[in-house]
Symmetry: C2
């Protein structure tokens, strides 16, 4: 296939590097102090200034109005010769058609999907004041946000942002993540985003420590980990990009123990033990990785790009692209007017997910250590076939008309769980720059069963935290749930 | 780009799995007993039966004759409409042309490369007898091997092997690696192969424990880890596939300490401490991963396939494809006659590397812990842009006519090292199924300098072993060197 582009490069026998000069090796910073100080910050008592109040203040000065428009009338967007919807600058992102072939148990499948092959940066600046971590968060509104501004990473930059394709202002604080950051990095890992809506999308998730707490610019503020954790319990206060970055923090190991509740019994004790280490884990981590290797190696699925204009099962109607049966999602157009962004107005396509989506962790103590039931998920847009995902991840409405055998495993266990087994429930928005009013209810539900059907594995929290240190092991919904589970562990600590 | 195939698949909201049914979670096997028993096996005293004698026996019954033929006259191979050399069955592998564009510091670069996108299995069966690991090795001859049969994995199977494309016999022991292996897997990870000669090639590296030592079939024998380690010091006795699989074994941690020499001083003590743990490592592992993330994220290189017949700088002459300046490698044709293989005769293209290639680890104790100087390497065929590689990896002949500034960093330090600083030196063959008489001299050289120029990082052995548990972090030459370095640690132990 001549002309098919691939990433990579380099001449044989010629190591190259984009790195600036550096000096001799230095002593490593101990990871364990980072974990300890993160835990202290997670358990720190609430202060008077809450993220919620601050975000509402911000919304008064920024304001954004979003209206639906016909996809055919989006300013600056057009259908290219390959049938993809693309910005006339060639930048930002495209909406393309894809067809998945030869997926063993599932018939041929076509859909629209967002294509944005560049790797952006989602970065949070951190500092330590008296051994307690504080994070520089941004109040950021996006056209798809359901309730206005949300807590966002310090920097949320596509490559178009770096290169000025927006024609807008320079991105504040970006330099801290671009220049020699690895010495001060607590996190620097590429992670996938929604594999059903993004084709091969990944962003660099970064947390970088800076020496001193700099003055926050307008629209930025410093918060403790605990303040962000508590904000997760409110609807759509912490955006998806902040959630994925924070889920990658190394909040594990014995250094964390001092800040966790000391209860030996019950859910809290089991959760604390699951965070501190993996003694008593149901599976060795090697075994978990082996399951993923097999799934990835044995897949014979391929995904090809096809014209957006002719996707079986999809129609273009009322200015949008939607399924004939109304399932899954629509591609819609929006026109945006704003006061607080680089550019005052723009139009763009967005994905509007079917309302009522849920993502859930079923959890249970196994020999006194809380375990999470993780599913091996194949999603069409993943860079590498399969990742670990939530126990249940779906929009239940898609299955209303189907026989119960076609319903996702464990869905009914989640929907019918008694309230006292629902340990966490919060409705959080997905990335508001691409998804319009698309929220997911994130649930953590306790179960008594330790069953492990094919395609599922019980894991400790410590194992999950170990996995998210590497790229493309844990999907974005499971990363949000991991963060929610960690917040639960510290909820008692900070309340006490 | 319609029609461009991508791996992946699956319908949104529908987790699928190829897994057979399994029952409830079970207690994990402790990793530490595996490490302990591997170390015991590495330190076990030599037995009377050496791999060398056994391999010479085998060569008497198998025998293979290889002759160079014109690429144009290879039976069953032809140039396809895209200018690639391909088997008429569409299976096995192809030789294609590639062009790398927009690599920052390097001009446009074209070359032939082997394209074989399927993931094969390289698997070794292991067992434990009285707490000592034994490995089932195969004596396998390949057309490119310089001296006949070599110690090879139990199973070395391409997907063409599984599916019978060779028209040959079933692969012995293959089922042990295909059916529910993850519970008994010590290793199951996809790893890259030579990124300058293979386009996106990776194989599944597996070590699977079986209950009892089964009778070895004809052409197979059980060896201790120590016996394989000692065989590394002889030229081309342990093949590349065996080396990469064995390098992924979890030979690390406190369980290993009991089998290592107890010397506190000098090289042996520093090496032992580097294997047992990463206390005193020059860099946190997070920092090492961050360096790789940056290299991979900031690359703007792309590789496109182009016709093999028209590569700038390359010529087709005397039945082979070679560089106008004679550098790097040739693509040649061979005709093979054999007694001991599935198929009695065949022809195929092969790559013949420039003689004299070397791969070297520079090592030095830092605060009493041996560190290896690892290079961040960009190779055109890597699946993911960059991996960690040896300090020096090149064929020095390529640089003979170039000014010293163009020579690879540290090359001259290696070539002029005094003999007493050369801790390991052995000339080992690269994969003899694809590379004709292509050997690399693997060197471990001690240095006094702790300099760390841009693009290099000092790492402990424990950190390297941790990295090879994941895919695509450490390249195949560095994995061989890691194995050689481990063998050095146990050389004293088994001699005493």
């Amino acid at each position: 296939m001549p002309g098919s582009p691939r990433r990579g490069g380099g001449r044989p026998d010629m190591p190259q590097s984009r790195e600036p000069a550096r000096s001799a090796a230095v002593l490593c910073t101990e990871d364990s102090t980072v974990a300890r100080d993160l835990a202290r910050s997670a358990a720190a008592p609430a202060s008077a200034s809450s993220p919620c109040g601050w975000l509402r203040e911000r919304d008064r000065v920024t304001g954004m109005s979003v209206s639906r428009v016909d996809l055919a009338g989006l300013r600056g967007w057009r259908t290219d010769p390959h049938g993809a919807l693309r910005h006339e600058s060639g930048r930002f992102f495209a909406v393309v058609g894809v067809e998945a072939c030869a997926v063993a148990a599932v018939p041929r499948w076509s859909q629209p999907i967002i294509h944005q092959p560049e790797v952006g940066i989602l970065g949070i600046l951190a500092t330590r004041v008296d051994g307690t971590v504080r994070l520089l968060m941004q109040a950021k509104d996006e056209p798809g946000n359901p309730h206005g501004s949300e807590l966002s990473p310090t920097v949320q930059a596509t490559r178009s942002n770096f290169t000025g394709a927006h024609g807008g202002r320079a991105v504040p604080y970006l330099d801290a993540f671009r220049l020699r950051a690895d010495k001060r990095a607590w996190v620097d890992v590429r992670q996938s985003e929604q594999g059903s809506w993004f084709l091969g999308k990944r962003n660099r998730n970064m947390v970088v420590e800076v020496e001193a707490e700099t003055d926050a610019r307008d629209g930025f503020a410093w918060f403790t980990v605990g303040e962000v954790f508590r904000a997760l319990t409110a609807d759509s206060l912490v955006n998806m990009d902040a959630r994925t970055v924070l889920s990658c923090l190394p909040l594990r190991g014995p250094g964390v123990a001092g800040s966790l509740p000391t209860a030996d019994e019950g859910f809290s004790g089991a959760l604390a033990r699951s965070i501190v280490g993996s003694d008593g884990a149901a599976h060795r981590t090697t075994e978990l990785l082996a399951a993923l290797t097999r799934e990835r190696s044995e897949s014979e699925a391929t995904v090809i790009q096809v014209p957006l204009t002719d996707l079986p099962g999809w129609q273009r109607q009322a200015g949008a692209i939607s399924r004939l049966d109304g399932a899954f999602f629509e591609v819609v157009g929006v026109e945006v007017q704003t006061a607080g962004r680089e550019v005052a107005s723009w139009s763009q396509p967005m994905i509007a997910g079917l309302p009522g989506g849920i993502s859930c962790f079923l959890v249970t103590p196994i020999r006194g250590v809380l375990h999470v039931l993780i599913a091996l998920r194949v999603e069409l847009g993943f860079v590498d076939v399969a990742e670990f995902g939530p126990t249940v991840q779906c929009a239940p409405g898609n299955y209303d008309h189907l026989p119960s055998a076609a319903r996702p495993r464990f869905l009914d266990d989640v929907l019918t769980a008694p309230p006292n087994r629902v340990r966490f429930s919060s409705t959080l928005s997905e990335e508001g720059g691409r998804f319009l009013d698309t929220c997911t209810r994130y649930l953590i539900v306790e179960t008594d069963s330790t069953d492990e059907p094919p395609g599922f594995r019980w894991m400790t929290v410590d194992q999950l935290v170990g996995l998210v240190a590497h790229s493309h092991y844990v999907n974005v919904q499971a990363r949000t749930l991991l963060l929610c589970l960690q917040s639960l562990a510290f909820a008692d600590a900070s309340a006490g």
